[in-house]
């Protein structure tokens, strides 16, 4: 990246990982440092390759949902939901309104839980343990709600093809519990956010580092809150049919630094609370699942969804027996990766991990092939793999 116009002499290479105190997930960071200033950064993500896309081949969709949910443990609902949206779009399966509302409720609950993990992680990196612990405590109320709805804290498996599982149907008492918890949470969370923003120590640590301008964000395909923190007003939720009934704002920030990325996520939680309230209050009556569908042949269909980290793509085809062929997943983190690498450049070396953490990497769900050629490794994109080796047989 830094190479191009002028070549920079690199004094030292710092390499972390794959198992390192500052990194929770296994990935490798190589920082090329010149006088403690980062000149270039390389993230290597291929430490958790599980071959999950290959497992999908030849399975009926209902069974594939089991695996789709296990792609990621933080955004498990999103993967299950998007896997279902592909077949619903492709075979024109009608989804009852009530099911859509419950899916949205679970989605926003997990968004809050996911953003609070980021705060926990980011403030752990900053070194402010009190804020990290408080965000973990706040998160518990939403983990409880997810387990009330779905039955499991991490893998709620709410969506099935044509609706949601009847177990996840919201009863009157559960609706009341959700509204109460949301009010309780908002009060505590407001105090928490106010404390973060008014804390000069933490803010001075976050402000003015990890710049990612709007042009760079668009150039490197930063999606989700990482892109929105650079002033790029792009949120897929505004275009999705499922989100049509709800009124919410897209949070953007023009200051483009690490603070902006934290603040955008902090404010996004309020919008999520707004959506949950509207959805629970206006929950329509009716069935939660439409069982009148038959698996059949389907051409390649793609579904896009705004997850907590950015844009998620699931795509597959069904053969004549209704079995899945060529499953393809693109999670938001690989698209954010170049932006993360770019944001580190030019800062002091101590800020690098914080900058990467503020982009909220979730590296378990990235799958890419890596080619090691005479000691120099590079990563191929999906299209290059297909061009070089053809579609998976």
């Amino acid at each position: 990246m830094a190479s191009g116009e002028k070549r920079v002499e690199i004094e030292k290479e710092l390499s972390f990982g794959p198992v390192h105190p500052a990194l929770i997930e296994p990935y490798r960071i190589r920082l090329f440092v010149n006088d403690e200033i980062v000149e270039d950064c390389e993230l290597n993500i291929n430490m958790a390759y599980r071959g999950i896309e290959k497992l999908f081949d030849g399975l009926p969709v209902e069974r594939a949902l089991l695996i789709a949910e296990r792609v990621c443990g933080i955004c498990s609902h999103v993967h299950a939901w998007n896997a279902v949206r592909v077949i619903e779009g492709g075979l024109k399966i009608e989804v009852p309104d009530r099911a859509n509302y419950i899916r949205v409720i679970t989605h926003e609950m997990q968004r809050i839980a996911s953003h609070l993990i980021l705060f926990g992680h980011a403030f752990e990196v900053v070194g402010h343990e009190t804020f990290a612990m408080r965000s973990f405590l706040l998160r518990e109320s939403f983990m409880d709600l997810i387990s009330y709805v779905g039955g499991n804290r991490v893998m709620p498996s709410v969506p099935i093809v044509g609706g949601v599982r009847p177990r996840a149907d919201l009863t009157e008492s559960l609706k009341r519990v959700i509204l109460e918890r949301v009010d309780e949470f908002e009060e505590k969370y407001k105090a928490y956010v106010t404390r973060i923003i008014e804390d000069p120590l933490v803010m001075s640590r976050l402000t003015g580092i990890g710049f990612l301008t709007k042009e760079d964000a668009i150039k490197f395909h930063a999606t989700g809150p990482t892109g929105r923190a650079s002033g790029w007003d792009y949120d897929l939720r505004t275009k999705m049919d499922e989100y049509k009934p709800f009124d919410f704002n897209v949070v953007t920030d023009e200051s483009c630094d690490t603070k902006a990325r934290i603040v955008v996520r902090a404010l996004e939680i309020f919008e999520s609370l707004k959506i949950i309230r509207q959805a629970v209050k206006n929950l329509p009556d009716g069935p939660v699942v439409n069982r009148s569908w038959k698996p059949g042949e389907m051409d390649f269909t793609t579904a896009l969804l705004e997850t907590y980290r950015g844009e998620l793509m699931h795509s597959y085809a069904l053969d004549s027996q209704g079995k899945i062929r060529n499953y393809k997943i693109r999670t938001p983190t690989p698209t954010n990766l170049a932006a993360m690498e770019h944001a580190c450049v030019g800062d002091h070396v101590t800020e690098a991990i914080l900058t990467i953490a503020s982009c909220d990497p979730c590296l378990t769900c990235c799958t890419r092939a890596e080619v090691v050629d005479s000691g120099k490794s590079f990563v191929l994109s999906d299209l290059e793999i297909v061009r070089k080796y053809g579609w998976r047989k």
């Binding site: 794959p18 296994p26 958790a48 390759y49 999950i52 497992l55 612990m133 973990f136 378990t364």
Partner: protein, 149 residues
């Protein structure tokens, strides 16, 4: 309880080795140890990332090919006596990746059960196990450490 056991009991260090799962178990483990709700730090069980300090190694996730050697290295650098807890269905039996349901098919990209790589003392099943279960698993591994000569 002799002096050695008493002093060991006062500072149990837990290390999490993440070997390529889905993050679900991993966060539940960190939750169990750190987060204020489950907080086992109050019983002087501390989370560490240095294998040379650790007493209990918690392994989560399917063992990806790239993580086999690092996992062995981590296990070897933990001083005796040590306990190993495998947390989550992936670490215990391979979950969906190793044909759990019967007809999903086996995945050759991973080395699933952790006990094929390093010896495991306690297994905590569940996808993902609750933090209470993780705590119970760690407590079950403690007698081995405390009673060691």
């Amino acid at each position: 309880m002799n002096l050695k056991a008493t002093s060991r009991k006062n500072a149990i260090h837990v290390m999490v080795a993440y070997t390529g799962g889905c993050n679900g178990c991993d966060i539940e483990i960190v939750n169990a140890v750190l987060s204020p709700r489950y907080d086992v730090e109050q019983y002087r069980v501390l989370l560490t990332w240095n294998p040379r300090e650790a007493d209990v190694l918690i392994v989560s996730g399917v063992v990806a090919w790239q993580m086999v050697e690092p996992l062995k290295k981590i296990y070897e650098s933990i001083p005796e006596p040590k306990g190993v807890v495998a947390v989550g269905a992936c670490a215990v039996n391979g979950n969906v990746y190793k044909n759990l349901v019967g007809d999903i098919g086996e995945n050759e990209e991973i080395w699933a059960p952790v006990d094929t790589v390093i010896p495991v003392d306690v297994k905590v099943p569940g996808c993902a196990p609750r933090p209470e279960d993780v705590i119970a698993g760690v407590v079950k591994a403690l007698p081995k450490i405390l009673e060691a000569p």
